[in-house]
Amino acid sequence: MIKPGRLWIVLFLLPALAMFLLVYLGPLATAVTTSFTKWNGMQAPRFIGLDNYLRLAASAKFQAAFGNTIKWVLAAAFIHVPFGVLVALVLFKRPRGWRFTRAVFMIPNVLGWTALSILFMFIYLPDAGILNGLIQSLGFSDFNRNWLYEPGSAFTAVTLIWLFFAAVITLITMSELMAIPESLADSARIDGASPLQIDLYINLPIIWPIVGTGIIIAVTSVLKAFEIIFLTTGGGPGDRTINISVIMVNRLLNSQEYGYANALAVVLLLMGMAAILLVQWLFRLGRGYRDQ
């Protein structure tokens, strides 16, 4: 730790703090304060205490959304992120075609969620969709599943639109791996460690903090995700694919319930905070080089 003059602390932090003030402080303050009001975004908000929170707690749709959100958070933490880290570990060994793979893995991110969702709607289509086509070509000629809308497959189909597109995790993990001095792996190899052992006992512990960071990034983006659901199932069939963000956006779009929507935003904020604190504690993210 360095203890520089106060001037430097202020100067180094000032631009970022100014950005925060300009872009985030207003929305954050508005969200928290108006979550205790009835407000349609136009007229003056009316204070109603905890009504919005009580109402959402009692809502069956919210309960379904909460359950789905938790499932997606777990899928992000235990499948999405590990997959991204695995790809990074594989590509870091520089097998043939690793540059190409690293570049093409970004394609879905370049496309963006809107285009990707529309694309997957076509992929999942009964009759004309490529997924049903592939299964039919394997000999199941009668197979024709409406993946996104049949109750049995809707949740899985929506999840698979994003689950394995973990290029962001791979990218940040690879940058971390590049920082590991080659000498560490070299000396381990001389000691007879297998590549797997080097990954498990040398690389992984060093990149552990970035795995934690990756989980925070993935989990918070799942908490905020709504385009994929919005553009495909709309939360259905029934409430099978609804999440908290979709309810929030619906409340803004369909009934101008800004107060209620902001109560949902606060719930998401608290869930995210809890996730961040938990991950920081589990991955000991707060500690620096010397403290480890």
């Binding site: 000032l14 100014a18 349609n40 049949e150 199932t233 939360g235 069939p237 619906n250 009934s255």
Partner: protein, 446 residues
């Protein structure tokens, strides 16, 4: 101890921070007044490329700017995307008290329109209508009544034409299935579906997303066969009425409709349903006159397809039309009187005889108050002729459900619960109860 480079770094950081911190001080630089000569009338318009609507309005805009050269100039922001984007932008502009002079797209946003009126955000257009006998002659009286409030103020403009919704059908398929007349009763309708299916065709284009548009057109016209059902359709924002036996009965009819449609109808989009009809996958699609131009456009349909398309009324000679009972264009109070009067001129320009006729031809916005002349009639395409003839024989109309039902049902409940109904997860009664529940939720939010 510090080098020159360090000082440069300090200066850079400080300048950056100062820049960010000082940005708010530049407030108020915005809003330079335009050149005094021509009065600019700001307006949002959906950029729709070559669709009939955009092409027609581009002509109107050029015509207006020419006619009022030196006096008014429409200042158009072309908004890419859907009508939703315009509505989103309108709401943001409204919160900043910076609405465009002409406020459009209010018909599907009744709640927003009513809030604007309540907050005094729109100008009363009634004095201008009262002062202009030519304008009075061409507006629908029902629409004037709808757009006028209890105190006699008219914050949104009345309609000069209305589209009618019926059913397009593929005449070749009907002939092959041995159906020589478009069905006029619901029994005949289902018999026609059976005959088409027996002849190897998929009878209907249907879909469940985007308010379940085509599905609900058929559901509501089925309701419209009885007086009780027509009364239901006259209710603005029905709630418990959704659980009535007539409505549940209509829901069961919808379950039956899905025996006659494509595999992708559940979860399908309007575009998918429309495409199935245009490439002769299906024999019928319920829809309005805005679809006509696509039948002769090879971008959407094969060459010569327009000659195969017939246009029928729903059973019982019923068609869907609001007859102008919807919010028209508003004039925003965020501008000077001179600009607002220019906005009124634009609204009146659209209500000129020739422009009304053009809206009837291009968009199917029909009116008995401004009949087409013989030249105009002779120039109509084959599907337009079918459409005009169908409307001639209409005996009953009901309003569109999109104008009557609440936005929660339209925006989220139908799209998520209709697939659940059709996959047997919930019953017709449960589906109706879900609609009632959402409707009540909307009522409570007001």
């Amino acid at each position: 101890m510090q080098t020159r480079k360090d000082r440069a770094a300090v200066t850079l950081i400080a300048a950056l921070a100062a820049l960010l911190a000082a940005l708010p001080a530049f407030g108020g630089a915005e809003g330079e007044t335009a050149a005094a000569e021509e009065i600019k009338i700001p307006m949002l318009f959906r950029e729709g490329g070559n669709d009939a609507n955009t092409v027609m309005y581009r002509g109107f805009i050029d015509g207006f700017n020419e006619q009022y050269d030196g006096q008014y100039e429409l200042d158009i922001e072309w908004v890419p995307g859907m009508a939703e984007e315009i509505r989103l932008k309108l709401k943001a502009l409204n919160s900043a008290r910076n609405l465009p002079a002409v406020v459009t797209n209010l018909a599907p946003e009744a709640a927003f329109a009513e809030a604007l009126m309540r907050d005094g955000r729109l100008m009363d257009q009634k004095p201008y209508l009262d002062a202009d006998p030519e304008w009075q002659k061409v507006v629908f009286p029902e629409s004037v009544e709808f757009n006028t409030d209890a105190e006699g103020r008219m914050f949104t403009s009345p309609s000069t034409g209305a589209p009618y919704i019926g059913i397009y059908y593929n005449k070749e398929m009907f002939a092959e299935a041995g159906i020589d007349q478009f069905p006029t009763t619901w029994d005949d309708f289902f018999a026609a579906c059976e005959a088409l299916q027996a002849a190897g065709f998929t009878p209907l284009s249907l879909h469940t997303t985007e308010t379940g548009w085509i599905t609900n057109l058929l559901l509501t016209t089925y309701l419209g066969r009885t007086q009780e059902g027509r009364d239901f359709m006259d209710i603005r924002y029905p709630t418990d009425e959704f659980t009535s036996e007539i409505f549940v009965d209509a829901v069961r009819m919808v379950e039956r409709l899905y025996e006659y449609t494509t595999a992708d109808a559940i979860g399908g989009t309007y575009a998918l349903a429309a495409n199935h009809f245009s490439i002769s996958d299906t024999a019928m699609i319920a829809n309005g006159p805005w679809m006509i131009s696509s039948f002769s456009d090879t971008q959407y349909s094969p060459e010569g397809f327009e000659n195969k398309v017939g246009y029928g009324r729903f059973p019982n000679d019923l068609m869907i039309s609001n007859l102008g009972r919807e919010y028209g264009r508003g004039v925003s109070m965020d501008h000077d009187l001179a600009v607002r009067e220019g906005a009124v001129e634009w609204i009146k320009f659209l209500a000129s005889r020739d422009n009304i006729a053009q809206q009837a031809i291009a968009l199917g916005h029909l009116t008995h108050l401004v009949p087409l002349n013989d030249d105009e009639k002779a120039g109509l395409g084959p599907v337009n002729v079918e459409y005009f003839n169908a409307v001639e024989g209409v005996k009953l109309t009901i309003p569109w459900f999109q104008a009557q039902w609440d936005p929660i049902n339209q925006g989220e409940t139908i799209v998520s619960q209709l697939p659940a109904l059709l996959y047997g997860e919930i019953t017709a009664e449960e589906y109706a109860a879900k609609l009632a529940e959402s409707a009540k939720e909307y009522r409570a939010s007001l």
